[in-house]
């Protein structure tokens, strides 16, 4: 059964959770002026990748990445999927750790980090345990509950904007595209990815219309622009670059007299955190699915040890610096998951269709 709406809401929710926390900081750090150039670049970059990925998948009739690899035999599948599994596990660890830190910085300053992490991981793995259906249905609910709040905050975040900060619009340095090779920009690009991989994992359990997903992707462009430009227009680049979470900091400056709540940014962050929880649930679910290729047991049986392992490793990370190092080590696997997998899908897809053509 086609469930395009649900797929789109998971797609958007996952990205929203990723965009508003670390992305603006990385872009602002990576480029001095004309931030729209790198933003649009990364947007188009992912558009191409997602198109390639979905095109490749479309050659196979409702098969997911794992099943496609399995057609090539079990050893090949394990070799191809192993880096992906490493990627997913490490992304889960980094994400859990990073967002627990964010929660602690923003609202639970006196709570120990392991408690925050435990809660976050427990909820996510419980959702993952309930299965794909649960994840996707929850996403629709979250979109309904979260959209009004998110839109309200996004609209009111324009309160302290000074449009003069938009200038200079274009700069020679940016046009030379040297920013592509700065570590900050690389990180921003990579932190954005990972939100689309699930598109290749959910068939045949859930099917969708790929053209609609591609259209929904365009909603992300204004979101990306807002997440970076609101801090810049409010603070100016010089100041915005000093914040670790620029958008969150900007949301803190919103003042609305008639509202009885002093910190409306809270609601925004709670919404985003719930988005992230769902994204993490999906990550866990994908990881469990891959592990099952090698260890054929039930989905639920895998999740418990997986959760414990991820929690233990996240707890072993002592500081923020280590998280960043982890992020760097992870780069090869990220590139594999984000570039090689979609490309591989397209190649395999074309070969598959040729073979099928020869047979008939």
């Amino acid at each position: 059964m086609a469930k395009t709406t649900q797929v789109i809401s998971v797609f958007l929710i996952g990205h929203m959770g990723l965009i508003f926390f670390f992305y603006p900081g990385q872009i602002i750090e990576g480029v001095e002026i004309s931030h729209w150039v790198p933003i649009v670049t990364s947007f188009l970059f992912y558009f191409v990748i997602i198109t390639v990925y979905m095109k490749g998948l479309s050659y196979f009739d409702n098969l997911n990445v794992i099943q496609i690899f399995q057609q090539m035999g079990k050893p090949a599948a394990i070799i191809l999927l192993l880096p992906l599994a490493v990627y997913l596990v490490s992304v889960s660890i980094v994400t859990f750790r990073a967002y627990s830190e964010v929660i602690r910085i923003i609202f639970l300053t006196s709570t120990p980090i392991w408690a925050v992490m435990l809660l976050l991981i427990a909820i996510s793995s419980y959702i993952a345990f309930l299965g794909l259906e649960a994840i996707f249905r929850t996403s629709v609910l979250l979109v309904f509950l979260g959209t009004p709040i998110v839109l309200f905050i996004l609209a009111s975040s324009f309160q302290n904007v000074d449009w003069h900060y938009l200038f200079p619009l274009l700069d020679k340095k940016v046009i030379s595209f040297t920013f592509l090779f700065t570590p900050a920009y690389m990180n921003s690009l990579l932190s954005l990815g990972g939100g689309f991989l699930f598109l290749g994992f959910i068939q045949p359990y859930i099917t969708y219309k790929s053209s609609s997903v591609r259209r929904a992707y365009f909603i992300l462009l204004p979101m990306l622009l807002i997440s970076v430009y609101i801090p810049i227009l409010t603070f100016g680049r010089n100041t915005a670059v000093l914040f670790s979470l620029p958008f969150i900091e900007t949301a803190e400056t919103i003042e609305i007299n008639w509202l009885m709540f002093d910190r409306i940014s809270m609601f925004f962050m709670i919404c985003l955190i719930s988005f992230v929880m769902l994204f993490l649930a999906l990550l866990l679910w994908k990881t469990a699915l891959i592990i099952r290729v090698a260890v054929p047991v039930k989905q639920g049986t895998i999740l418990l040890p997986l959760t414990i392992i991820i929690f233990t490793i996240s707890k072993l990370i002592p500081d923020w610096h280590t998280v960043e190092r982890f992020f760097l080590i992870n780069t090869i696997f990220r590139v594999y998951a984000m570039l090689i997998i979609p490309a591989l899908m397209l190649i395999l897809g074309i070969r598959h269709s040729k073979k099928a053509g020869v047979k008939t």
């Binding site: 001095e32 002026i33 910085i105 923003i106 639970l108 300053t109 006196s110 709570t111 408690a115 000074d162 003069h164 900060y165 938009l166 200038f167 200079p168 619009l169 700069d171 409010t234 603070f235 100016g236 010089n238 100041t239 000093l242 900091e249 803190e252 400056t253 003042e255 007299n257 002093d262 910190r263």
Partner: protein, 359 residues
């Protein structure tokens, strides 16, 4: 065991487990928290001195205030020490006003402002105000008035309460921005305790890169508020021939670079209502006089800006599309002193009140 027993037992079991839960983590009830609303900071020989004004609800007579004072090497250390000495948890989240001693402001606020933004204990929306008399004296003087009005100083600056157009407003985050900005400086209000009225406005301080470098009168502060696009309606202008009240204001700026010198052309449209007049001036005479008064005042602000190399009007912002980033970096030193401004006040007398013009 019966089926009912199988169902009921787990429920009882779960309920029993629930009883062992202790409630929220590290939660402190509101009666165990102290929520200071005003913090006074002064600095003497590398030692900060902090005064916190903490409201305490009492059953007899509304809100009582407690003043807690301490000194130490850093602000966070002092707050921590005060918290340790108090029977309640110190919570700065609802701090509304930070009152800064003038001498301290003159020596530079950068460290304190960054500390506030870094620690996240204090909302970036907190207002920064400079105190024109010793902090302790200020608190002692307002103590007797603030018995029944806990949010007194805060109300003084709130647009929907006691704020007036000639008073500057400045949040901690705006101050932080100005410290790191090439093209923007801030005006912070200056107050002292008054006689009769509790707080007396004393104009505003010019803060350049986090340091107080000069001061402006309330009338000059009005100029900065007009330039930042604020609605200054309600301000009353007194002249020789008449007294008028501003009812509407609008500003349009055009910036250009002529022979390497920045040129700014501003048009300020003011609609005023006539309140009083002396003798029989015509409408044109009133307009002319108002234009003259305001232009003179603006020129004075501009001269001051050039002297102090402090861009309180944020004029450099208007050149962001004219100058490159490297040039903007030198805005305060190279461009601002050479700035040429052509300012034009367009005045409309919207109404003459309930009497006719020549009445």
């Amino acid at each position: 065991m019966s089926i009912i027993g199988l169902r009921v037992l787990p429920v009882i079991g779960i309920t029993a487990i629930l009883l062992t839960l202790t409630g929220c983590w590290d939660n402190k009830d509101i009666n165990h928290r102290s929520l200071p609303i005003v913090m006074g900071i002064s600095k003497l020989d590398d030692h900060y001195h902090i005064v916190l004004q903490i409201p305490e609800p009492s059953q007899q007579q509304g809100t009582e205030f407690r003043l807690v004072k301490a000194s130490g090497a850093t602000i966070n250390e002092i707050v921590d020490r005060i918290g340790a000495n108090m029977e309640t948890q110190m919570d700065l989240l609802h701090l509304k006003v930070i009152l800064i001693d003038k001498a301290y402001a003159e020596s530079g606020l950068n460290d304190a402002i960054s500390a506030f933004l870094r620690s996240h204990d204090i909302s970036p929306k907190t207002m920064a105000v400079i105190c024109d008399e010793p902090i302790d004296q200020f608190f002692d003087n307002i103590q007797q008035y603030s018995k029944n009005n806990g949010t007194l100083i805060q109300d003084f600056f709130r647009a929907n309460a006691g704020w007036s157009p000639q008073v500057a407003t400045s949040r901690i985050w705006e101050l932080f921005r100005s410290i790191h900005s090439y093209t923007r400086d801030e005006a912070i209000p200056i107050i002292k305790s008054g006689k009769g009225t509790i707080v007396e406005t004393r104009g505003s301080a010019i803060i350049r890169n986090g340091k107080m470098v000069g001061r402006m009168t309330p009338d000059e502060t009005l100029m900065t508020n007009i330039f930042s696009g604020m609605d200054v309606k309600g301000k009353i202008e007194v002249m020789n021939s008449a007294t008028v009240q501003i009812v509407n204001n609008r500003i349009t700026n055009r910036s250009s670079i002529v022979d390497g010198r920045p040129l700014i052309k501003s048009k300020i449209t003011l609609s005023v209502a006539l309140l009083e007049k002396k003798g029989q001036p015509t409408q044109d005479e009133i307009k002319k006089e108002l234009q003259l008064t305001l232009t003179e005042r603006f020129n004075h602000v501009l001269t001051m800006m050039k002297e102090e190399e402090a861009d309180i009007l944020g004029l450099g912002q208007l050149f962001r599309n004219k100058l490159s980033r490297d040039e903007l970096q030198k805005w305060r030193t190279n461009y601002l002193p050479n700035l040429k401004a052509e300012i034009h006040f367009e005045v409309f007398i919207e109404n003459e009140g309930d009497l006719k013009m020549d009445a």
